[in-house]
């Protein structure tokens, strides 16, 4: 036991910590036994409330997780007893004779909860990210059930109102019950499809932190940490899945740059300009290890692992000039095959230009000119202008910069592009 008679707020902090550590296991085991994730969460919550009441007097038990489990178990037994009594009464009203035999379900329940089932948390991950749920619901439920976050914490992280999140979670649980979603790890081909839905949810959380789409801050590191934790849990639960390691590798390496991505006055700093001494070497090391694991699963690298491999090329370069663009261009080519997208192609073209010169890059960029999705995408003419300028084709470069300037919605960028166009003009005149 730790110090007796903890203050209420100190107990609260300890209970929060224990909840974060144990809740997924607790809810997982209770879902397995009750068959209802909503009920399981309620029982676990009840146990937490009991801890908040008891621990200030008794001190924190030596095994707080086991304490919570035992308490939740008693609540479950009480609940089932009440339900059974009710059933029996109903039966009596129906004038049926019911033998007052002591049910053995109570013992079965106790035993089932004492069993350690390794897959409980993984099953919980799979139902939290089940395809019957909307993407938003999957994110909320995953953070809630696996991450152990409160609805308030989730709401603050995504800058939405707390009741919205609460309702999302309530509805999600109802949907799962209504759809009779089984508490299981899917098998065979379904496993792969369902796993990718899980990875998507984790990466969504990460990106929301890494390139905050809303709010005052450019990044929200806490959300990145949360996604990293979820990803690490997932990779540990599915050690044979290359993409799970690939996603972890991608997130570790990207997160390693969080510090360097923010300038002194809070402004974003882009990769080539980052102070590489501020990159987090621990996370880079972990990212490279995870990438290695992704490569050892016996399957070819998927989109996450390939993106991680690209990120790793940057991570390995001690200066921006030392970047292995040949390797990056090759990785983009592989990525474009798996994820055919004009934006990936444009990235590939820029990598090719760094590796093999502006003419080679331009050739690829030119193939994208007629792609409908890029027709109003200002970065295409901007990239093209850049390559043309490098090739000394200044008149064409000027036209591209002007076109890019007319397409961008950002004033600062428009000014920058106009300035580049004007510079081309001057060069032409001289």
């Amino acid at each position: 036991m730790t110090d007796l008679a903890l203050s209420a707020s100190a107990t609260h902090r300890v209970v929060d910590a224990v909840w974060r550590m144990e809740s997924a296991k607790l809810i997982g085991a209770l879902t397995r036994v009750t068959g209802d994730v909503g009920l399981a969460e309620e029982l676990a919550q009840d146990a937490m409330v009991a801890a908040l009441e008891r621990w200030p007097q008794t001190g924190v038990p030596d095994k707080p997780g086991a304490w919570l489990m035992a308490t939740a178990k008693h609540r479950a037994i009480d609940l089932f007893r009440r339900a059974e009594r009710l059933e029996r009464k109903t039966a009596e009203l129906g004038r049926e004779i019911v033998e007052a035999e002591e049910p053995d379900w109570a013992m079965a329940l106790v035993e089932a909860l004492d069993e350690v089932v390794e897959d409980d948390v993984l099953r919980l991950v799979f139902i939290s990210c089940h395809p019957v749920l909307s993407r938003e619901a999957r994110v909320a439920l995953t953070l809630r059930l696996i991450g152990g976050l409160t609805t308030d914490e989730i709401a603050r992280a995504f800058l939405v109102a707390e009741p919205t999140v609460a309702q999302r979670i309530v509805r999600a649980k109802r949907t799962l019950t209504a759809a009779k979603v089984p508490f299981e790890v899917p098998a065979g081909a379904e496993f792969t499809a369902r796993l990718s839905s899980v990875l998507e949810v984790v990466y969504l959380v990460f990106n929301e932190g890494y390139a905050a789409t809303s709010g005052e801050e450019w990044v929200r590191p806490a959300l990145c940490q949360e996604a990293l934790r979820l990803g690490r849990i997932l990779a540990a639960l599915t050690p044979g899945e290359s993409e799970a390691h690939g996603l972890v590798a991608l997130m570790e390496i990207q997160a390693s740059r969080l510090r360097a991505r923010i300038g002194e006055t809070g402004e974003p700093v882009l990769l080539p300009d980052q102070d590489r001494s501020r990159w987090d070497r621990v996370l880079i090391g972990r990212g490279l290890t995870a990438l290695e694991r992704a490569g050892q699963c016996g399957t070819s690298l998927g989109p996450y692992a390939l993106q991680a491999a690209i990120a790793a090329c940057h991570a390995r370069a001690h200066t921006a000039d030392a970047t292995d663009w040949v390797q990056i261009a090759a990785l983009y080519e592989a990525l474009a095959e798996l994820l055919p997208s004009p934006v990936v192609e444009l990235n590939r073209a820029m990598a090719v230009s760094r590796a093999y010169g502006p003419a080679a890059g331009l050739e690829l960029v030119d193939e994208l000119i007629d792609v409908p999705a890029l027709r109003t995408y200002h970065l295409l003419p901007s990239a093209r202008g850049d390559l043309l300028e490098q090739l000394g084709r200044r008149d064409e470069a000027r036209r591209e910069f002007e076109r890019a300037a007319s397409l961008t919605r950002n004033e600062r960028e428009r000014a920058l592009l106009r300035a580049r166009a004007a510079a081309c003009e001057r060069e032409l005149g001289s």
Binding site: A17, V219, L237, N347
Partner: protein, 142 residues
């Protein structure tokens, strides 16, 4: 937040007494739990101080090397973990789960620039969209 969990030396660790089979099993299970919870960033056990050395610096910048072993056993470090958790309470609860039966473990927070990213100015917010797009175009996953 990140913590370094420092396992202090004991007479046994200094003598290089190897852990028993049972101790190894328990420690393995504990480490696995840390990994499965996604909180363990690193962790190592250290050899006795007799294999180590100290480098002492003088005011004039000169240095002297002192070879181990060192006497003050309880001040020595026998191993460490780096854990990433969300609170001091959480790291303490993790440490309380460690399968030790004697000795002492010290918990220290790793210093970090948590306070970066103070509120962005409106201008910077305006830039955000552009930079994200530019960054995506230049560096893919970035």
């Amino acid at each position: 937040m990140r913590f370094m969990v420092i396992v202090k030396g004991t007479e046994d660790t200094e003598k290089g007494v190897m852990p028993t089979q049972q101790e190894l099993t328990e420690m393995g299970a504990y480490n696995e739990e840390l990994v499965k919870a996604g909180v363990m960033l690193a962790g190592e056990g250290l050899l006795p101080s007799s294999k180590g050395a100290r480098v002492r610096f003088e005011k004039d910048g000169s240095s002297t090397v002192v070879d181990g072993p060192f006497a003050e056993t309880k001040e020595l470090v026998a191993g460490f973990w780096i854990l990433e958790v969300s609170s001091r309470e959480e790291v303490i609860e993790w440490v309380r789960k460690a399968p030790f039966r004697d000795g002492e473990v010290e918990v220290r927070q790793v210093a970090s620039a948590e306070d970066f990213g103070d509120a962005m100015t409106p201008e910077l917010r305006e830039q955000e969209d552009r930079l994200r797009a530019t960054s995506a175009a230049q560096h893919g996953s970035e």
